[in-house]
Point group: C2
Chain length 338, copies 2
DNA sequence: TTGTATGCGTTATCAT
DNA sequence: ATGATAACGCATACAA
């Protein structure tokens, strides 16, 4: 039975407490105020269930404590984990997250940037694909896995090194004929360096090397055909495969099983990302693990740090290798297929 | 080289266009305005790269076009998919999503509700666990999978029927001795009805029935012990298992494999949820599928509909059964383990 | 049809 | 130390 149907405001609190508006504001912001006043204001606040209006605050301060996060989607475990970790980091710092799922659509990406700006976010963290993404220079933007433009920091892992590690690992494990399998965009994002690194490693270790790259839109089944072509007299041409992501590795392993090629006995498979499914217990396969915690934390730190000048252009975190059953060695971790 | 360091406002646009403030507002909101004026205003807008300030709008209109979504986390594929679908539905209606990951922590849940209110969201969609969650009655709240309180709609699937279907399916497939495996909270949320439905189905079809319920905090490995206890002379006591979620089913199947119990030859397994991993291609196991699209759409629809009075208390969507390799029948869909 | 003035809830700058 | 008042950017009722 309150007198106003809408939420109580500072004015209501001031009236209830019998003090001036400014005094209420001070109490709320922890500024010095006479003890007796403070008590009366606090009583009024809890009586009316008063809550500050972030919109009014934001309007006044032009600081909203909100950050937009652009992700293709959140069903993909890699993006999901990244989102989760960024959210945790933001929450820790009392920031709120506006999640924008772009479906990897360049138009959506651009549109969400507009929306984010209209919402006066304090910054944007984005994993985007639009090669012509226009980012207003006076909004702080942190990019993940892709160099977006001058002055915009990009946070990623050491993709090149990861590729190289995969090649070296396969060599160490006795492989002689290996292949790199990749899906995805033709554009130049950081994960493209996985291929170069792998190639480099193959050259260094004298491995026979081939690669199969699916264009955007091509179905994953094309890999099945590729694998079949490399089956001769019941023998498989390759003894080692490096897949650009764990997700690709998953599908490849499925195809191989159907072809009665054994993993890891006949062919060893290494993925990339270090996805852990089902409550972080199981890796998909032996893989190059990205330190997503570090990446997420760095994104948030860069975004919220004050000295806007000193933003490094590209930050690569080191990756690690973990065996999880799809390579011929003692698995360090349980895998999906073991 | 613009004269103000901060973003341009309507006032700047009005000045640039040589018209009054109100006119600019009208142009932006699509209200009738003289053609020549409109053109001048539009020119000024694009020249200054003007963008409306949602915070000022929201303050004025006390309508923010934003919705808070409370989810335990987004790494779990079930929650992730739900989040994704809700986001899609919100975006379609020009609403923005404030994602709040609660980690299933009752205190976080409560806290996020406060934050959401301070952010003047137009409503909250929440999958929560706090049995004493306090929700201000004059904020629209839609609950998923749990009845939160009087006047708060709950959207879920027909969990009871799903349990019953699982029992009947196992019976149809020749099972005689079955078990129900569940993890999780002791509290009374909707998914608890899966057990009752299953039990009911078992009674109707004369199945020997047992159940193992893990309390919160107990490690999943306890199931392993349970399964081992039911191994006698190399024979497994059960020929059918119903798991409360696909995630539990995943772990169970792993344990069974390690025990050399074959799925589905020795024991058939049915899960719940209908998770599809890796680009929606593969189910985890034979399972009871929730229509998550419908659930997400209904949540958003209920949240945004005007007539606040007519909100139904509990909405259950029908579930379907799909076979995916962990039951003895022709799989309709590929599964993780096939 | 266009312009002006007021208020949304908060904060900050003043006098008091 | 406290109380009044202006300003943030926008929408709208009202006056011109």
């Amino acid at each position: 039975m309150r007198k106003k149907s809408s939420a109580p405001t500072m004015k209501d609190v001031a009236l209830e407490a019998g003090v001036a508006l400014g005094t209420v504001s001070k109490v709320i912001n922890g500024l010095p105020v006479g003890e007796s006043y403070r008590l009366r204001v606090e009583a009024a606040i809890s009586k009316l269930h008063y809550q500050v209006n972030s919109y009014a605050q934001g309007l006044k301060a032009s600081r909203t404590y909100s950050v937009a996060v652009l992700m293709p989607n959140v069903s993909n475990p890699y993006f999901a984990r990244l989102t989760q970790l960024i959210n945790r980091e933001l929450t820790r710092r009392k920031y709120r997250m506006l999640l924008c799922c772009t479906e990897s659509d360049p138009a959506f990406e651009q549109e969400y940037i507009t929306i984010a700006q209209q919402n006066k976010v304090d910054g944007i963290i984005g994993l985007t694909y639009n090669p012509n993404l226009e980012v207003n220079p006076d909004i702080t933007f942190i990019s993940i896995d892709r160099t977006v433009g001058a002055g915009i920091p990009c946070v990623t892992c050491d993709n090149f090194m990861g590729g190289q590690m995969a090649a070296e690992k396969l060599a160490d494990l006795g492989c002689r004929n290996v292949a790199f399998l990749r899906v995805g965009s033709s554009l130049t994002n950081e994960p493209n360096k996985r291929r170069s690194g792998f190639e480099n490693g193959c050259l260094a270790r004298n491995l026979n090397y081939e690669s199969k790259i699916l264009q955007d839109g091509e179905p994953i089944e094309k890999f099945d055909a590729f694998l079949q072509e490399h089956m001769h007299d019941g023998r498989f041409d390759f003894d080692g495969l490096f897949c650009v992501t764990d997700m690709v590795a998953y599908h490849i392993i499925k195809f191989l099983k159907r072809m009665n090629v054994r993993v890891p006995e006949d062919v060893q498979v290494i993925g990339f990302d270090g996805l852990q499914l089902f409550e972080d217990l199981h890796y998909v396969c032996s893989t190059i693990v990205q330190p997503l915690e570090d990446i997420a934390a760095m994104c948030v730190q860069l975004l919220l740090q004050d000295n806007l000048g000193a933003k490094p252009p590209l930050i690569c975190f080191p990756v690690t290798y973990v065996s999880a059953g799809t390579t011929r060695e003692e698995p360090e971790k349980p895998g999906l297929f073991t």
